[in-house]
């Protein structure tokens, strides 16, 4: 019976994926991509990856959906012109053959995976106690493979700088997006007043339980980012100009704290990012708490896009 649930899940997932590829209208494709993200969340759950499911629920179903929907609406005008460039039949057939070969090769690899799967789970379990956290994923992210997480935080920041660099010269240092004009008594303003307080509590809860249960900074930060964007979109509060000092500070405080702890490790424990015995949990919580606002602001501004209008009213 459990297998039947999983098969129906996989079929529905593939059906939606097929839809997003073959449908003519771009907006329909993107509209199919949102439920696809939600189904993918269930797929992670079926594979017992609950932390991944939480991340997918926050990012895949929330932020990516909003990003693509907004892009599809704004690119609607250019779509008709692009349709004229439809690929010919021969290209399609060749592409189909290539894709089928690829799929068959991967399927063969899946079937030939070794029976005794290699795993690092026992190693993680053995060293888990030293980190002081109970959630093995958090231990991997912030202790065993902390370098990856540090680089990731920096990659996000670099991505944001790349997006900002697309700003036209006159808008540099200004506010992202267009000025929002929304009825302050309308349903959207109501939603933006009621939902964020609850959302912030849930975000901090998800962040806090991350030490011992599924959850953590990425998921919490994504919810915080979504709540902030909701307030911006409702016009209750404008997007900040990107040259504000507090904004720049929030953006770098997480990576900066992470690097500082890394160098502390060089001095105290003899290697970059190694924690002195007994202080691991304290340092992990410190890094996570510094990363939370940085990640939230970075994710929100990634979605808000490059600055498009001057920030300071003359």
């Amino acid at each position: 019976m459990s297998i039947a649930t999983h098969i129906s899940l996989a079929l529905l997932l593939l059906g939606l994926a097929f839809w997003t590829i073959v449908v003519r209208d771009t907006f329909s494709a993107v509209a199919g991509f949102i439920p696809y993200g939600l189904l993918l969340t269930s797929a992670w759950l079926a594979l017992a990856a609950i932390d991944v499911a939480l991340t997918e629920a926050a990012i895949g179903a929330g932020l990516t959906g909003a990003l693509l929907i907004a892009a599809a609406s704004r690119l609607h005008k250019t779509e008709i012109a692009a349709r004229a460039e439809q690929r010919g039949t021969i290209t399609r057939i060749l592409a189909a053959i290539l894709a089928t070969t690829m799929t068959a090769a991967i399927m063969a690899c899946i079937l030939r995976l070794p029976d005794r799967a290699p795993t690092l789970a026992p190693t993680v379990a053995r060293h888990l106690a030293q980190t002081g956290v109970g959630n093995p994923i958090t231990a991997v992210l912030l202790s065993f493979r902390a370098m990856d997480t540090l680089l990731e935080a920096i990659v996000l920041l670099v991505g944001l700088i790349a997006i900002w660099s697309l700003a036209p010269d006159r808008a540099w240092g200004g506010r992202p997006g267009q000025a929002q004009t929304e009825d302050p008594k309308g349903p959207l303003a109501y939603l933006a007043r009621v939902l964020p307080p609850i959302g912030i509590v849930i975000a901090i809860y998800i962040f806090w339980v991350g030490a011992d249960h599924p959850g953590g900074k990425f998921q919490g930060a994504t919810i915080l980012a979504a709540m902030w964007l909701l307030v911006m979109m409702s016009g209750l509060s404008d997007a900040p100009a990107i040259d504000r000092g507090w904004l720049r500070f929030l953006l770098i405080v997480g990576p900066a704290a992470f690097i500082a702890v890394g160098f502390l490790g060089v001095v105290v424990a003899g290697a970059f990012l190694s924690y002195p015995t007994g202080f691991a949990k304290l340092l992990i919580v410190l890094i996570e708490a510094a990363l939370l606002p940085s990640l939230a602001v970075t994710l929100a501004l990634l979605l808000a896009g490059p600055p498009r209008r001057p920030g300071r009213r003359a």
Partner: protein, 106 residues
């Protein structure tokens, strides 16, 4: 037929679909969707491998799972950058297309 085989096959088809869409669809936004599908296929294979490595009371190998979380966040950042590029291109040229003749013609 076990759960890991089902989702492994599912991942293989996702990669194939994504590859097909990446080649066939001319619009950059559709290519981005297709690329995301391919990426999700790869992530799913990673999760299948993690699930097969379940041991020591954990539902799956935590190392690939932690990498997946990183990967999902970075994939979002890459998509955001791609979307920003497309919107800027359409602002600048009035069209959003990868073909060079079109951009110069407008």
């Amino acid at each position: 037929m076990t759960t890991t085989t089902i989702f492994g096959f599912c991942a293989a088809v996702l990669v194939g679909l994504g590859l097909y869409g990446l080649i066939v669809n001319p619009q950059p936004l559709r290519k981005l969707l297709a690329f995301n599908l391919m990426g999700n296929g790869v992530f799913l294979i990673c999760a299948v491998i993690a699930r097969r490595g379940a041991a020591a009371g954990m539902g799956g190998d935590p190392v690939p799972q932690a990498l997946l979380i990183t990967a999902i966040v970075v994939a979002f950042a890459a998509s955001a950058l791609a979307v920003a590029l497309m919107l800027r291109l359409s602002e600048e040229t009035g069209a959003c297309s990868l073909s060079s003749t079109r951009g110069e013609g407008d």
